[in-house]
């Protein structure tokens, strides 16, 4: 196996995946970003500043919490939750938003743009833009604005301009298209804060580097708690930033099984899912060669998931590669399975998870069957579920409220 820790290569490739398939107008900006990032990633002052904000602004390190009652419910391994939901703004997205906002500040950009699906990355970007005095525009699919109205309100409260993407399926894919188009027009004074490990090189690397803090902390915490590494790590995968963040430091530890959970929507054999690795083929989406959902002639197919954050027809190129070389395994979880895990964690631990993270929890329900009580399982609880409560209530027409 190639040394996964030194990837991507200088062309932005993870094996055959990745690269830079974007309009020429953006190429100079990407090269500039690459060299700025090379410089700042080893700049002590920049790194100290980053650590300062992660600690004092976002509240890191986040706990690694032993979910005793949830473990007992499942009757299998000891389950630990990496509590990214306890970050400022309620999800892991802030780790990357702080890092990239600092990149914008250090490279003299006063305007930032972002795309968002569930709204978590949009909220994180609006938040750091407010903190660093940057003008902020967030692109969001019209359908997602409806599903995540609360987050739209939060972003506007934070002073961001929220622009709806009305083309295509009106979700994350289309918001990303609009953000890239806007960047093409304003590339000379605008920094694009991409929210996941997707997009053209160097973004998948930059976002991974800013998210690896999840895995670095997890490793130290599990060693302190259990004096050993976990047997398995589970994380949900849309674009895949929380998953790569927790996986990356464990890639050389071959005994730790890494499992990414894709959204299977109404089922991977229906047209309504977002399982890019399980049901897609390699191709180019948003500047990167990776797995994506597409028809015979390469038209991108709309994804579906109950969770807006996983509702994306592509996946980060590093995940495509980890899948290809067999270092990580990618499995599907349906809307219904995720919903039932959502309730299970809420009721057994008093922690309401984001619907995205509920996919990883649902996979734990399955994995627990074949694991032993001496096994240790870590789940990345990427975000909290407050944003989803309204949509779930609407879907249930209040049934759950009344019966409980």
């Amino acid at each position: 196996m190639q040394d996964t820790q030194t990837y991507p290569d200088s062309l932005g490739r993870f094996g055959p995946f990745g690269g830079r398939y974007v309009p020429e107008t953006l190429m100079s900006a990407l090269h500039q970003l690459e060299s700025d990032y090379e410089r700042l990633s080893i700049d002590t002052r920049f790194q100290e500043e980053l650590q300062y904000y992660l600690k004092n602004y976002s509240g890191r390190p986040t706990p690694l919490y032993y979910a005793e009652r949830f473990s007992r419910e499942l009757g299998g391994p000891k389950i630990y939750l990496k509590r990214e939901d306890l970050n400022h703004t309620g999800a892991h997205k802030i780790n990357n938003a702080i890092g990239q906002a600092l990149l914008a500040v250090h490279t003299g950009k006063r305007r930032v743009i972002a795309e968002t699906g569930a709204g978590q990355h949009g909220v994180a970007t609006a938040t750091v833009a407010a903190r660093f005095g940057l003008e902020c525009t967030v692109f969001m699919g019209e359908e997602d604005m409806r599903r995540q109205a609360l987050n739209v309100f939060r972003m506007r409260m934070l002073g961001a301009n929220v622009v709806s993407a009305t083309a295509g399926s009106r979700t994350l894919k289309d918001a990303t298209n609009e953000a890239i188009r806007h960047w093409v027009e304003h590339v000379e004074d605008t920094y694009y804060i991409i929210g996941s490990v997707v997009g053209p090189h160097p973004y998948p690397r930059i976002v991974r580097d800013f998210q690896r803090v999840i895995g670095d902390e997890t490793k130290a915490q599990i060693l302190a708690a259990e004096s050993r590494l976990p047997d398995k790590i589970l994380a949900c995968v849309g674009g895949g930033s929380n998953a790569i963040g927790i996986f990356y430091p464990f890639i050389p530890d071959k005994k730790v099984a890494l499992v990414g959970v894709e959204a299977a929507g109404k089922g991977v054999d229906t047209q309504y899912h977002a399982a890019s690795i399980n049901r897609g083929r390699p191709g180019v989406l948003h500047g990167s060669y990776t797995y994506l959902l597409q028809d015979e002639f390469g038209q991108v197919l709309p994804a579906h998931s109950i969770s807006a954050g996983l509702d994306y027809p592509g996946v980060g190129p590093e995940h495509a590669w980890l899948h290809q070389i067999g270092r990580a395994q990618y499995v599907p979880i349906t809307d219904a399975e995720a919903l039932s895990a959502f309730y299970l964690l809420s009721k057994s631990e008093g922690i309401i998870p984001a619907l995205e993270s509920a996919h990883a929890l649902a996979q734990a329900v399955k994995e627990a069957q074949t694991m032993d009580k001496h096994d240790v399982l870590v789940i990345c609880l990427s975000g909290r579920g407050d944003k989803d409560v309204e949509e779930i209530a609407r879907q249930n027409r209040g049934v759950e409220y009344e019966s409980n």
Binding site: P23, T25, S28, G283, V284
Partner: protein, 280 residues
Amino acid sequence: MNRIEGVFRKQTQHSALIPFLNAGDPSLDISLQLFRSVLQAGADIVEIGIPYSDPLADGPVIQASATRSLKSGFQFPQVFDLAQALRSESDQGLVAFTYINPLLQYTLERFFADAKSAGIDGVIVPDLPYEESGPVLQVADRNGIALIPLVALTSGEQRIIDICRSARGFVYCVSSLGVTGERTRMSERVRELVERVQSHTSLPVAVGFGVSTPEQAQYLSAFADGVIVGSALIRRIEAALHQNPNAPVNILQATVQEFVKILVQGLTHPVPPKQFPPRI
């Protein structure tokens, strides 16, 4: 010599006019008639857009046109039927415009073989920068089809040199002229860009993206070898369709022909304007 370079050379009266339309908008048959009309009205080369679900480099007008085409049932291989029909009756240049993903899914070998037998002379891939173009260029060259590269206002000197070195057919300068309040400065930058590119290549240099009026085309013709007009043309088709969604094909043909003729007139006008004229 590729037919494209020949077309530029043959056009000695004025800059070459290169209109863009999407294949299949509003239907495959009607789009074929519209391409015919454009060629008859004086286009030197036509750019045949292959509709894509996620056209990152296109503005709202061309996006909407691609959506209409896909909704009408357009499928990728039909572009070869369309090109073949045009080739059988015209010696003008035929250039396909496609995003990289559909091209990769069709496979490079099959795409360039089919393009060659359909009489397509060149291909533009707006999301394939120089760094990623190697494998595509190789197959294109083997089939004698020009991979036409793009150069932008943001491209540095060394990139321009590298891009020009492997350029085929012509070099496409992205003008991005629509930035509000910066027209004068932007127009100067476009002229500078075209002249810089010309100093690094003997190929023709054409300008496109955001050329919306005959006056603008005329301004560009003072220094560019070719002018590409897409959205402005499609907007006129859209307007006609808006008035009557089932507009008879001859109405649409008359619409595009009229506009192309005005553009040609603009290009032959003796005195180009000194400054970049505003959009309408």
